[in-house]
Amino acid sequence: MDEFTSPAPSPPSQPTVIRDPWIGLRSLTPSRIALGRAGHALPTREVLAADEAHARARSAVHAPLDLDDLSTRLAAITKGEPPVRVCSAAPDRQRYLLRPDLGRRLSAESRAELTALPLEPEGCDLAIVVADGLSTTAVARHAAPVIEAILAGLPAACRLGPVVIASQARVALGDEIGQLLKARLVAVLIGERPGLSCQESLGIYLTWEPRPGRTDAERNCLSNIHPGGLSPAAAATRLWWLAGEARRLCTTGVALKDRSGEPGRLG
């Protein structure tokens, strides 16, 4: 039988996509569960949905941050001086992506500027650095509400340093900034890598006695601050719990275990 004599294929009696009967569980997770299958593969609809999400995530990496708008909003929240703006040594996004070393240190101008800032001689207890990281969307949407929540929980005795907005910044840039501000503790709020389903995730890294050369094992991290993850209020509560422990133990990182969820530990 060849293609000229074979009968035309009849319309399919089976559906071409096999559906998964646990689709109702999607309300419990943003994960792509119960996608169904075409044979063993993802159905066309899901392949295209992932492709669209990938395109959005790729462009989120490169979206510029509206620094003026963020400065205005942060100044309104802190009711003080407008935030100090600094840049890392990475001059543009492309070099930021390929040269992590540049994103971890200040540009010469920014270093000079921070050095020249009039500071209290004894420094500050906490410096807050807002870093663009890999998602400016995360910073634009969540940095202000998170800082507002942090300030709402500010203990009376805690001296807050100036708020710094850092561009083309990696987490470790906070070490140099914190050192120049004579901060005992630095909190770096940073845009996390954009994923397919969430391109606005903010992280906070806390480092005791910041100075260049600190390793990741010397930091505590609060991750996934966004509407589907940790709320600003919950993040601030955990931050102050960790800050209190950091002050008590004189350290952050692996040696400081987060027990803020245990009964009686908060409050």
């Binding site: 646990w22 419990l28 943003p30 899901e46 992932a50 390929l98 991290c221 940790l230």
Partner: protein
């Protein structure tokens, strides 16, 4: 002592062993970033030619990181088995490649020489191997491990089920677990990366995964990938810890940046062994590694990133893990720039791990700031399956909604099983068959909304 090679009457000089290895490495962004890469393709070729003439024994005589500075070097040298090495001790790196590709290097011989091979020797030979060489030699290596099932048997591919959730919500995580099990994944481990390292979350997740495994009598193991010190604390608190996880690197300073020492890993392993939770075997550890972690921690001592990675396998094998995987594209484009570099690194890592005797798998993955896409992952997983990879990682729809990167999907595992005829860990596949989820050939069966596993949340 220096090394040199003459090409077209020009003498190319390489100051020491680590420089020679770095310059002989295939081009990748992380080595360029570290300033150790060859400056031209001709220099790279000269380095590879010089490396081919280097006797393997040189790696025992000239440690690239001195033992007095680095406990990983000491571990590698102290555990070296000269008798096992004898079979290849007379070879140069180039001859070693030829020997590996010849008939003499069968499964039994490759198993016998393992304790005589150091990570540096293995990294060196991989730099002279093409992708097909990395595949064909790895394919001949056999590594079998056991906890509640058997991982690594011929003709099998296991999957880690990774059901992460952005708020560590146990019900959301169970929805992901269910999705993976229904698609026949989860024999390597059901392993959750928690958002938070807080002890309460760790306890809740450990209890929740253990309850599912017990209730449905699933022949598999769970893991919550918190810091090793938190997991030791959990074991001491009587919580159900099956596998103890830790990220590890190939230098003492890298491990310090992870907040660990070899002594901590020993303590963790002993604590896990003491609980005797494995029913079939006592491989209780799970490690993750990845090229670039040493440079990222400024802890690479001038070594290229692939040699650092192989040294991490030297660490891993000392602890007899159930599974170990490279997270090959996770770290970002500054270390592996694009799909081509990620694919090459994945094959190198798999080869180096296997020949050293590790039950090595791969998180075939990429981030959204790297020049890679799902087609690159298709290529990588197909090549890894050809190479006999022990296990891969599956996430619902390949989208990790917590870590913000793409791994493989549960569907991808079905594709590989269909194309290569690969089965799951036998005890796990028998369970899937008992649950009417697969047929006798391991193929997925249609399910209805009355399937008992769908009651997982109640």
């Amino acid at each position: 002592m220096g090394y040199q090679h003459t090409l077209d009457s020009r003498v190319w000089h390489f100051d020491d062993l680590k420089t020679l290895l770095a310059k002989a490495s295939p081009y990748r962004s992380g080595d360029v970033l570290a300033g150790v890469a060859a400056e031209s393709p001709v220099e790279r070729t000269a380095a590879r030619m010089a490396l081919a003439e280097l006797p393997l024994v040189r790696f025992l005589e000239e440690p690239m990181i001195p033992g007095e500075d680095d406990e990983v070097t000491r571990l590698i040298l102290e555990s070296h088995d000269a008798r096992a090495f004898a079979a290849v001790a007379h070879l140069t790196v180039g001859d070693f490649r030829d020997w590996l590709l010849g008939e003499a290097a069968d499964e039994a011989t490759l198993t016998a020489i393992r304790p005589g091979l150091t990570p540096e020797m293995v990294a060196a030979v991989s730099k002279l191997m093409r992708n097909q060489d990395l595949i064909s030699v790895a394919r001949r290596c056999r590594v079998v491990t056991r906890f509640r099932n058997t991982i690594g048997l011929p003709g099998t591919l296991a999957m880690r089920l990774q059901p992460n959730h952005p708020a560590d919500d146990p019900r959301g995580i169970l929805a992901g677990v269910l999705d993976g099990l229904m698609y026949g994944c989860g024999d390597a481990v059901i392993g959750v990366n928690p958002v938070s390292d807080d002890m309460t979350t760790l306890a809740v997740l450990l209890e929740s995964l253990d309850a599912v495994i017990q209730r449905f009598e699933i022949p598999t193991q769970a893991c919550v990938l918190a810091h090793v010190t938190s997991q030791i604390e959990a074991i001491n608190a009587g919580l159900p810890v099956d596998l103890v996880f830790q990220s590890i690197g190939g230098t003492e300073a890298t491990n310090r940046s992870f907040g660990i020492t070899l002594a901590m890993l020993r303590e963790a392993r002993e604590a896990a062994l003491a609980t005797s939770r494995g029913t079939l075997g006592s491989n209780v550890m799970y490690f993750e590694t990845g090229q670039g972690s040493s440079l990222s921690a400024n802890a690479h001592h001038g070594l290229d990133q692939q040699t650092c990675e192989a040294r991490a396998y030297g660490v891993a094998r000392a602890f007899e893990p159930l599974i170990c995987n490279t997270v090959v594209g996770f770290i970002g484009p500054e270390y592996l720039h694009d799909g081509k570099q990620i694919i090459r690194a994945g094959l190198e890592d798999h080869f180096c791990g296997k020949i050293l005797g590790l039950p090595i798998g791969c998180d075939a993955c990429y981030t959204n700031h790297a020049e890679a896409d799902a087609d690159d992952m298709d290529t990588l997983m197909t090549l890894l399956a050809t190479a006999g990879v022990t296990f891969l990682i599956g996430v619902p729809g390949a989208d990790d909604v917590m870590l913000g990167y793409q791994s493989l999907s549960f569907h991808d595992a079905l594709y590989l099983r269909e194309v290569f005829g690969l089965r799951r860990a036998p005890e796990f596949e028998a369970w899937l068959e008992r649950m009417d989820l697969v047929d006798s050939r391991g193929r997925l069966l249609p399910v209805t909304s009355r399937h008992p596993l769908l009651a997982i949340q109640t």
